[in-house]
């Protein structure tokens, strides 16, 4: 329903818009609703930031709850066909669909989040969330009493696997006895299933939960059970004040503003962007002083500084995979290609990565 309404507004907006000073139209494809207070919410915050920065130069539209299947092709095509100049597709599995539509509309610019396939009119962008995972891992390693960490993962794509590895490397460095239990929910968005997974992990002894899904249900389940948790994508402390240690926030606004401005100026070109804490695309939420000792907060802040100035890299060798094979040699760091295609667990993680 909402989707249809938005399309109507998109079409109406086009006819009104073209009568004015011809603002550029920017479209967004969302996997969930902006009200998820997680992944999609932060993209929508970014979209609003872009509008506030560029004023009359752009107008924007979004289509929410677009599944990662053939529906995505229709949604993207509708935005492209209704006169949008720049379209952001904000989930990994929109990759093929984005490229398919991009081929049909060579004059429209596309930006695909977290993907790796580009074309002359398709850029990719992502954030180095794993930098935040390193800090979460360090905190979890120091805070856990049961030495069991529960990790709710979504789909076995490189981004999620990278997060698990970065988290585990940092956690096991400060606490070699740590065990990480991973549940693949095979969904980004299902509050019921996410809380089932959270409760299952708590039931199996986890006293800290980490999630790579989009709702605050796991954090709420942690609050209810009296264990700790990390928020996801946005600061979720208000939903679970006695469980929330910190969260990794995704800050998309400046990037969206910059890319939309490039379209307005006619300077847009295909490129790959992968920014992290140094550029401000990844930000840690305020550390919860009620739950964390002061010196641990201090350590986390120092890690942030070290990541920003490059003296700390989450994937610094030696790193072995589960089979015991050396993947990153001592003194070296993993390169972007290795991280972008990561499909293996580091040594010490139990269980097999689903394919």
């Amino acid at each position: 329903m909402i989707r249809i309404l938005l399309l109507i507004t998109a079409i109406l907006g086009f006819s009104i818009g073209s009568a004015n000073a011809d603002p550029k139209k920017v479209g967004f494809i969302y996997i969930g609703p902006p009200g998820d207070h997680g992944w999609t919410y932060m993209h929508d915050v970014g979209r609003q930031y872009m509008e506030s920065q560029l004023g009359d130069a752009v107008t924007s539209t979004y289509i929410e709850n677009v599944p990662e299947n053939a529906d995505a092709v229709r949604a993207i095509r509708k935005l492209a066909a209704s006169g949008h100049d720049l379209i952001f597709t904000t989930s990994f599995n929109y990759m093929d669909q984005t490229l398919e539509v991009a081929k049909e509309f060579p004059d429209v610019k596309f930006e695909h989040a977290t993907g790796y396939m580009r074309a002359p009119n398709v850029s990719t962008y992502s954030a180095r969330f794993y930098e935040g995972r390193t800090i979460s891992g360090h905190i979890a390693g120091k805070m856990t009493k049961s030495n069991v960490i529960g990790y709710i993962a979504s789909f076995p794509i490189p981004e999620v696997v990278r997060g698990i590895n970065a988290f585990y490397l940092a956690a096991s460095k400060v606490n070699p006895d740590i065990q990480i239990k991973i549940i693949w929910a095979f969904t980004w968005y299902d509050p019921g299933k996410e809380s089932d997974a959270a409760n299952t992990l708590i039931n199996q002894g986890a006293d800290i939960l980490v999630q790579h899904t989009d709702t605050f249900a796991p954090c709420q389940a942690a609050e209810k059970a009296g264990v700790l948790a990390f928020g996801q994508a946005s600061n979720q402390e208000e939903f679970c004040p006695n469980a929330h240690l910190t969260a990794i926030e995704d800050i998309w606004g400046p990037y969206y503003a910059q890319r939309a401005k490039a379209v307005v100026d006619g300077t847009w070109a295909e490129k790959d962007t992968w920014d992290g804490m140094a550029e401000g695309m990844v930000v840690m939420s305020p550390y919860n002083a009620k739950l964390m000792p002061t010196d641990l907060i201090q350590e986390a802040v120092e890690m942030e500084i070290a990541i920003k100035d490059g003296s700390l890299h989450p994937f610094t060798g030696p790193i072995y995979d589960q089979a015991g094979e050396l993947r990153v040699a001592e003194g070296e760091v993993a390169d972007d290609l290795m991280m972008a295609t990561m499909d293996w667990y580091v040594q010490g993680i139990d269980g097999e990565l689903p394919q």
């Binding site: 009200g35 095979f186 089932d196 299952t200 689903p354």
Partner: protein, 289 residues
């Protein structure tokens, strides 16, 4: 596995499966009277959001459930008007009801996303779901009215000729289904995952619909089926957390796969009778024919 962990697993299964039981048993009654309502997901969402918003505004749990049930009755009443009086196509109307429910619930709940509430103990509802399944089964197979309901679903023309009001029976079936879906939704937003988020039922309405077919329109089997679907989903999570290797994706499609197998069996006409699909399902009733 020690006993505490085992009890924990059982508890999570009970909590996770209950919304499926409510929604499926409601849809089963609707279908038994010969009406297919594909609006389950939409009615669940509207039920979930109305219960949540009422609770936030009034602070009363009982009022929240009453308003939620009323919303289910209203949504399904709208559906009943369209398919029984205006004789619109049931499949299309049901799909429209779901789309309508998704949009309506998002609009109602917009400013309530993330409002914290105190969740209710789920075990009362778990017990209630078992009781309702028992009562529905008793109703269909041990009471005269239940027999009439079934007769209307099998052959509305014969029932009409015998003097039973087909429209009235179907209206009751549809309203009961709507109320059960709303109950499933309110259970989700108040007990299961105490929060409101758009689309929070995440496809459980469709699983409930599949369940009715999987259970071949038998109340007891619906309960068993729901616990198979729900149990498999929780067990696979436990296996994952224990580090057992197996394809998790397979378990996510298992409910649909099982339903498809049942549908293939049903598509052979002779067996269809044995599997007790209501013979008049989705066929509109024209009075005076």
């Amino acid at each position: 596995m020690n006993i505490e962990v085992f009890i924990g697993v059982i508890q999570i299964i009970l909590i996770a499966t209950t919304p499926l039981v409510f929604a499926a048993i409601g849809e089963l009654v609707t279908e038994k009277t010969g009406v297919l309502n594909l609006g389950v997901e939409g009615m669940m969402l509207v039920g979930a959001v109305t219960a949540f918003v009422t609770l936030v505004i009034t602070g009363s749990y009982s009022l929240a459930f009453i308003v939620s049930l009323l919303s289910g009755a209203l949504m399904s009443g709208l559906f009943a008007y369209l398919v029984l009086i205006l004789m619109s196509n049931q499949v299309a109307t049901g799909l429209a009801l779901t789309i309508f429910g998704i949009g309506l619930s998002s609009i109602i709940g917009k400013q309530y996303i993330g409002t914290p509430i105190q969740g209710l103990n789920p075990y009362f509802f778990v017990a209630l779901s078992f009781l309702i399944v028992f009562l529905v089964s008793y109703f269909f197979y041990k009471t005269k009215l239940g027999l009439i309901f079934r007769a209307v679903g099998e052959s509305h023309n014969s029932s009409h000729a015998l003097g039973y009001s087909v429209i009235k029976v179907r209206l009751m079936g549809i309203l009961f289904g709507g109320c059960m879906c709303a109950l499933a939704g309110s259970y989700m937003s108040i007990c299961y995952a105490p929060m409101w988020q758009e689309n929070m039922t995440a496809g459980r309405g469709w699983i409930a619909l599949a369940l009715v077919v999987f259970a071949t329109w038998k109340p007891g089997r619906t309960l068993v089926g729901a616990y198979i679907f729900g149990g498999v989903s929780i067990l696979q999570m436990n296996l994952q957390a224990w580090g057992v290797n197996f394809p998790g994706q397979f378990f996510n499609m298992a409910p649909y796969l099982a339903t498809m197998i049942v549908l293939i069996i049903i598509s052979s006409n002779r067996l269809r009778i044995k599997l007790s699909a209501p013979a008049s399902l989705t066929i509109p009733f024209f009075k005076g024919r």
